[in-house]
Amino acid sequence: MKKKKVKSSAGSKVFTVLNSLFMIAFIVITLYPVLNTVAISFNDGIDAVRGGIYLWPRKFAIKNYQTVLAMENLITGAKVTVARTVIGTVSSVIANALLAYVVSRKRFIFKSQLSLFWVITMYVNGGMIPVFMLYRNLGLTGSFWVYVIPGMIGAWNMLVMRTYMLGLPDSLEESAQLDGAGYMTIFTKIISPLCKPVYATVVLFVAVGQWNSWFDAMLYNRMKTEYTTLQYELMKLLSSVMQQSGNAAAASERGSAAAAVTPITVRSAATVVTMLPIICLYPFLQRYFITGLTIGGVKE
């Protein structure tokens, strides 16, 4: 007995050392590219092309940030992005929570059919053209609401919430019903307060998606600069840093926009600018989503 204990503790020590090494390697691999990006973003553009910049800029410059922040559309984009993130996230969480609540009621007559109805949506889609035509007919194209309404309910988020709600004791609902509470009251007064962790998780899911999306802005609001988004503006910035004239055939004359910035440094600066808000936000939500994110299916 004694011998065994000593042996296991030696093994345990080896394990601890190896595990720590693994974690250190993990952190280095995760953080290095990000820190390297920050370093490059503060470096002179032409100089950066030569490579060899690691964790500290070689030829310090803030021109990259000036270039990024000087864009008029960027401010509009930032506003729209904040608006869509807030409105989109709130509406999406409410809608998904209601749906998850319904399908997680054990007595609900259509619960399995309704679940299946949503699970299917994860795997089939009609393709871009019908979707586009639909949005156009609904008047969603060329409007802010195209960022909010179409993605409001999503099967994955709903499933995450359903799993969590299924894990809550049935007795809560039963006793409330005995007290004469209706389904809505149970939802708002009893279930929702207990679901804070999973709500926070979904908030983060949706918020990150909203914050990072640019494809919808390009597709549906290309000509509406008032509804442009931050990431789309950054995309534009990246493709126009080294803007060229160039009709493959004809001789068009255009001046150029080059200064001492290059795509490498501007992309880095842009990366830092878009990363910053969400990086500042997520540690606050962290304690919720660690406990809130569980997923489960049904088991007979």
Partner: protein, 561 residues
């Protein structure tokens, strides 16, 4: 409790800032509207705001751009240009068609697709309303080239027209480019073939492995991203002495189409590239670099040579050279008119105005006011004052006029003109609207500053001047020394193939050939065994049925018989 407060605080900050954002947006747009309304009373009726999408990367100008505002007040039109972002040109066009919602103006490389989709309005009647424009802009035959199978004209190419005397100084075409410093170091030798070209570069890099600051020199790089892979694929046609028909060769005597992809000149060209690659003189990143990376690389001044079109690199790269002082070190590129054998005539330079009927500016069915939109296209072409405003800027602000009426700029004005933020807030070229080369209506000035001989001379750095002088050239065009001749009426053939769709077997073949060339040409260059790689490439190439494509091109050429 504390954490709760923090979360609450955070949430409320977000909501508040969102509300603030929304509120401000509303007032902003109101303010804009009012301003627009007020100004519109001033002149030319109301300012109409049009949108325009161009399937090329470009920089948006600010919504309060000064010259755009001036143009709006005087000509009643303000255009919001949107450029290509995050997609290829044809994807962007496809997306627009899929969505079925169009901007007021559009300039795309896939015009026939837009016509198929019923997206464009026929311009024939509008063109007839402006006889002076009709006569001046294109000849009758040129207009006919724009006529689509359904008998209508849908777009007008805005480029390649010269007014008055041609003052072209740049070789705005493809070439083997080489840095002036390399030629200077070698004592300005005569270079006529690829062998001589690479010999000079190899010798130079052996003697000068790095630049002054220690950055290693790169002998030769190739861009082959997306449609810009012409830097790799079509040099064979020029080496054989043919002009830039782009997708095929035309035998002028028999009027037959030939395929340059399989021609001896092309094989020899790739064999040479392969040899240089295996010797280590071709940049190993050639086939994986993006356009941005390529331009950034050229901008460092370390690349000694490449094949490219002038407009694809020079505007950006030359500006950077100027700002970084690299032009004084002889980093500027000069064009060489190489051919397979020494002494052959070369046709790298296109002397005539090239009318590319494959693309141009069009008005869509969603346009708010087609009459006004078309009138603006005409104004752009016909009104010298508007033209000067677009390309020279505001008088006494962006340029000055001397006692002889000659426009000139100070260094500061030139600097401003090339400054990014100044371009966004002040400059407005509407660069995909009709424009002229050559000389202005006043007979003195060039239509564009860069074609003004006095400006051109001022702009040149000493090594470039020395180089031109050594070869007895005044400018880039003299330098490349192409034979002066007029191209056939079919020229350029790429303007037809650019509009092929997968509706026809030839179009399918054309699309597949592009895919195969993108994949195999780099492999051929990198191969250890060139002949085996070439044979493999040819097998895949022939499987695309290039004969279908060539037959359809021949049918087009036959219409000129």
């Amino acid at each position: 409790m504390k954490k709760k407060a923090a979360t609450l605080f955070l949430a409320s900050v977000m909501v508040l800032s969102a509300l603030a954002g929304c509120g401000k947006e509303v007032t902003d747009s109101n303010a804009g509207g009012d301003a627009g309304a007020n100004n519109s009373v001033a002149d030319a009726g109301e300012i109409t705001d049009f949108t325009m999408f161009i399937t090329m990367p470009g920089s948006e100008i600010n919504s309060d751009n000064e010259i755009a505002q001036l143009i709006g007040e005087k000509w009643g039109v303000r255009i919001k240009e949107t450029w290509l972002t995050g997609q290829t040109a044809s994807e962007a066009t496809g997306t627009l068609i899929a969505g079925g919602e169009y901007p007021d103006f559009i300039d795309s490389d896939d015009m026939s697709l837009l016509v198929d989709a019923g997206a464009l309005i026929p311009l024939d009647d509008y063109i007839d309303q402006y006889p002076e424009f009709k006569e001046k802009w294109f000849t009758e035959e040129e207009w006919e080239k724009f006529r689509q199978p359904d008998g209508h004209i849908y777009w007008i190419n805005p480029f390649g027209n010269t007014k008055g005397e041609s003052t072209v100084t740049t070789h705005n075409d493809e070439a083997f480019w080489i840095q002036a410093r390399v030629l200077e170091w070698a004592g300005y030798p005569q270079i006529e073939t690829m062998d001589e070209y690479f010999k000079v570069i190899e010798d130079y890099i052996a003697a000068n492995p790095t630049m002054e600051d220690g950055t290693p020199n790169i002998a030769y790089t190739i861009l082959c991203e997306d449609w810009r892979y012409f830097c790799l694929e079509n040099a064979g046609q020029f080496l054989g002495g043919y002009p830039n028909d782009g997708s095929v060769l035309v035998d002028k005597d028999t009027l037959t189409i030939e395929d340059y992809n399989t021609s001896e000149d092309t094989i020899q060209y790739f064999r040479k590239l392969n040899e240089e690659y295996n010797k280590g003189f071709v940049d190993p990143e050639s086939f994986t670099q993006t356009y941005d990376e390529y331009i950034a690389k050229l901008s460092t001044g370390r690349v000694l040579g490449m094949v490219d079109q002038w407009w694809n690199f020079a505007y950006t790269v030359n500006d950077v050279f100027k700002q970084q002082g690299l032009d004084a070190m002889g980093c500027n590129y000069v064009p060489l008119g190489l051919t397979t054998e020494a002494g052959m005539e070369n046709r790298w330079h296109t002397y005539d105005d090239t009318v590319n009927q494959a693309s141009g500016v069009a008005i869509t069915v969603d346009c708010k006011d087609p009459d006004k939109a078309f009138k603006f296209i005409v104004d752009c072409a016909m009104d010298q004052e508007l033209h000067d405003l677009r390309f020279w800027g505001v008088k006494d602000v962006d340029y000055s006029v001397d006692e002889n009426g000659l426009y000139y700029r100070t260094d500061e004005q030139r600097m401003n003109w090339s400054d990014t933020s100044y371009q966004a807030s002040h400059r407005c070229q509407y660069s995909y609207m009709p424009q002229w080369g050559g000389t202005s209506d006043d007979g003195i000035n060039a239509n564009k500053p860069e074609e003004q001989p006095s400006e051109f001379q001022l702009d040149m750095a000493q090594p470039l001047k020395d180089c031109f002088a050594a070869y007895g050239a005044d400018n880039y065009v003299d330098m490349i020394g192409s034979v002066v001749e007029t191209n056939g009426p079919w020229f350029p053939m790429y303007s037809y193939s650019n509009n092929f769709t997968t509706e026809t077997p030839g179009g399918v073949a054309w699309a597949k050939m592009g895919e195969i060339k993108h994949e195999y040409l780099p492999k051929v260059v990198m191969a250890a065994d060139f002949d085996a790689a070439w044979a493999e490439y040819m097998e895949a190439y022939n499987a695309c049925k290039p004969e279908d494509f060539l037959a359809e091109m021949q049918a087009i050429l036959d219409t000129f018989k």
